[in-house]
């Protein structure tokens, strides 16, 4: 029987559509910790014990070290300064990641002046456009086997790029299944100094555009209150190198006073880890080197045990 031209065209079109869908489906098998930044933070089971904060926490706190010392299963749900400053969007994402049944969890909430600040003038334009456009705001779920919405909203390339990246060697960032972000950088002192100088210059100019945010502060308080119902909250300010610490202290001179009054008000323990700032090495003065993440994590777990 002769197939009419119309049917033949429909079959060809169907073939193309199936080919596209099939290649996309195949690509999902090639997602690895190496090829999609932060993807592993947005999949997996709901969690009972979380590490919360920005890129400092994402890179510095290693769940597997905490797991050993505290006999719990931790998950690093910290992202970066662009995505996970305290606010409605991040708070809602945390609640979606959290196991609704969780009751005796441990929550390590890292704080620093950046995580409770906004660009000058931005706060009056609530809801913050920056937060609204953030992909955390576009995801309905942070659990499950795959997160298609994450790839759709956040992956810049065609999905077959996952296969390309899978076979291409030399990824410099690995988001582990427990959420810890391992950043691979040249550890030669000269390169560290170069990166530190660049980062410091960038931060020095950036900080002038930022101010303390009442909105982010009240969001942090709301988050602590919500998490307290699910377990115990520990506030931590992670170490950074002296120059960065001084820069933050000078610009956000009320931060320490505020955080101390918050710990009293909300009855949560707080540790400013500034005393360890010379004991660790950094990638750029601002983020702790991956080899020192276990060291920092061990200190945090020891501190929690002693509380």
């Amino acid at each position: 029987m002769r197939i009419s031209s119309r049917i033949s065209n429909i079959l060809k079109l169907l073939f193309v559509l199936l080919f596209i869908v099939g290649m996309h489906a195949l690509s999902l098998y090639f997602i690895s910790p190496h090829n999609v930044l932060d993807y592993n933070k947005c999949v997996g089971p709901a969690q009972k014990n979380l590490i919360i904060g920005t890129s400092r926490a994402s890179q510095a706190i290693q769940p597997q070290v905490l797991n050993k010392n505290l006999d719990k299963n931790f998950f690093n749900f910290a992202f970066n300064g662009s995505l996970s400053k305290y606010g409605d969007v991040y708070n809602q994402a945390i609640m979606k990641k959290l196991d609704p049944e969780s009751k005796d969890g441990i929550f390590i909430v890292t704080v620093d002046p950046w995580s409770v600040s906004t660009k000058k003038g931005e706060e009056s334009l609530y809801p913050l456009a920056h937060d609204q456009q953030n992909y955390l705001n576009q995801l309905s779920s942070f659990t499950g086997e795959v997160n298609l919405a994450f790839l759709y909203h956040n992956y810049n390339y065609g999905w077959m790029h996952l296969i390309w990246d899978y076979y291409k060697k030399g990824s410099l960032s690995i988001t582990h299944e427990d959420g810890w972000l391992e950043i691979i950088r040249d550890t030669a002192q000269s390169r560290i100094d170069e990166r530190k100088a660049r980062k410091l210059a960038a931060k020095q100019s950036e900080i002038e555009q930022y101010e303390f945010s009442e909105y982010r502060w009240s969001s942090l308080k709301m988050l602590i209150a919500q998490l307290t119902q699910k377990g115990k909250v520990y506030l931590v300010r992670l170490p950074i190198s002296k120059e960065f610490y001084q820069l933050e202290q000078n610009h956000f001179d009320q931060f320490e006073r505020r955080i101390k009054s918050l710990t009293v008000e909300m009855n949560v323990p707080y540790w400013d880890m500034v005393n360890l700032q010379d004991s660790v090495k950094y990638n750029d003065g601002h983020h702790i080197n991956r080899y020192f993440a276990p060291y920092i994590s061990r200190h945090i777990s020891d501190w929690i045990v002693n509380q």
Partner: protein, 461 residues
């Protein structure tokens, strides 16, 4: 609404199903589907939707009223001035405007939208309207969603003629498939070739004040601009073909020309035609008494406006001015230009060879276009070490080699099909060739296509 989004795919699919499934007398609703889809395209951007509605209804109502009046000239001038003023305010207001209003205007290429209204009012003055435009058709003409973002700038007659026959349109497989070819080729150029070429340009031009920075950086920048805009144009042409409506072919292989007049006849054709009809021709009329010098002045002034259209920044002005000056040797028949033209006529090899130096000339000029300002360009060039040809290892490594192959492949296919409508106009090629290309392009698009954080360069203008 972004073209690369589920919402756009959904809108397109539903519009197409509704459009083609209407039968008999119900086909009269097709035009409403086009209008409704165009407004849905602006979904979530209330201000843009309001702006388009108010300005569209105001323009068509006044236009229809004025065309019934005897004394039209004053109204025509008012119409041109009012629309041009709006555009000028936006261009002058620039950043402060967008700070005040947010980025509401971004989904709408304001210039492209306004040019259509301005053309209508100029034609009132020229008494060029044969009949009063229908309100519905005129509204669809101005807001039709495939061309809303960055054109092409359609002419009323051609578009209205198609809208009038929209009820009679029958689904044509060949046309639909050609539309899909347009879409595939446009998508490949815009989302694969353009970002890759842009990356090479940045690596070669930024912080690399060497001869290679100017020559090769310029080449990749030129390819980037072309792939981005022609890709967009082909993509939206394809969308429109799916509805059976043909838009102006905006690019006809301009990279393979060897002289400036032909280049502008093939580059951004709808806009060049608009400038020719509504600026250059009236200017020539006024300056004709000065002979060739008058025409030369009209060309330079027209290109100055082309430059200004991109923005009021000095680099755009310089770009427009230089393009205008490139016409002088041909127009004023300078000796060397005449001799070269004769030689090219005699020798096909020379004609072909001259594409290369002309390409380099245009790509170097495009560097001015892409600089932040004229001063920025001059400052960069001042530091160039002409004796150095350092490519910073840009072309080493397996990945970069693949990327380079994709760009060269794109240019090669364009050259291969340079006598067709567009690069992938391959309906008459062998089945195996067609399908090999389709699959290769789809694979390249799905693997190296960059879809996020990639705006359309010309959407800013």
């Amino acid at each position: 609404m972004e073209y690369y989004s589920i919402s756009f795919a959904g809108l397109l699919l539903i519009s197409l199903i509704c459009f083609w499934s209407l039968d008999g007398t119900y086909r009269k609703w097709r035009i409403w589907i086009l209008l409704f889809s165009s407004f849905l395209f602006l979904w979530g951007n209330t201000t843009a939707m309001l702006f388009v509605s108010i300005s569209g209804i105001l323009n068509v109502t006044l236009l229809r009223w004025v065309l019934k009046e005897k004394s039209r000239e004053r109204w025509a001038i008012l119409g041109v001035v009012a629309n041009a003023l709006l555009l000028l305010l936006y261009k002058v207001g620039g950043a402060s405007w967008s700070h005040w209003a947010g980025d509401w205007i971004l989904p709408l290429g304001l210039s492209f939208y306004t040019f259509q209204h301005i053309a209508s009012w100029v034609r009132v003055r020229q008494e060029d309207w044969e009949e009063i435009p229908g309100t519905l058709n005129y509204l669809v003409y101005t807001v039709y969603f495939p061309k809303m973002l960055s054109g092409p700038v359609e002419k009323w007659e051609g578009f209205d003629g198609q809208l009038r026959k929209v009820n009679e349109l029958k689904f044509d497989d060949a046309k639909f498939i050609q539309g899909l070819r347009y879409i595939l080729w446009g998508a490949f150029a815009k989302w694969t070739v353009a970002p890759l070429a842009h990356a090479f340009y940045l690596m070669l031009w930024t912080d690399n004040p060497t001869l290679s920075g100017i020559l090769l950086g310029g080449v990749f920048n030129f390819i980037y601009i072309y792939a981005d805009f022609s890709g967009y144009s082909n993509f939206v042409l394809g969308i429109s073909w799916l509805f059976g409506i043909e838009l102006i072919q905006n690019f006809k292989f301009p990279l393979f020309t060897n002289q400036v007049r032909e280049f502008w006849q093939r580059w951004h054709i709808s806009f060049t035609q608009w400038i020719l009809d509504y600026l250059f021709t009236p200017l020539t009329f006024h300056l004709r008494s000065f002979g060739k010098k008058g025409i030369a002045l009209a060309i330079v002034l027209s290109f100055l406006v082309v430059g200004l259209w991109h923005g009021l920044e000095s680099n755009y002005i310089a770009f427009g001015l230089i393009q205008g000056l490139y016409f002088l040797p041909i127009l004023l028949k300078w000796n060397w230009s005449e001799r070269l033209a004769q030689a090219k006529k005699k020798s096909l090899a020379l004609d072909r060879f001259m594409i290369l130096p002309f390409f380099l000339l245009m790509s170097t000029t495009a560097l001015i276009f892409s600089s932040a300002s004229w001063n920025d360009f001059v400052l960069h060039v001042e530091h160039v070490q002409l004796s150095s040809f350092n490519v910073n290892g840009v072309f080493s490594g397996f990945s970069n080699l693949i990327f380079l192959c994709l760009i060269v492949g794109f240019l090669w296919i364009e050259w291969w099909n340079r006598n067709s409508l567009f690069g992938l106009d391959i309906a008459k090629r062998k089945f195996a060739v067609r399908w090999m290309l389709y699959i290769a392009l789809l694979l390249a698009l799905m693997t190296w296509g960059e879809f996020k954080n990639v705006g359309t360069l010309y959407a800013h203008f």
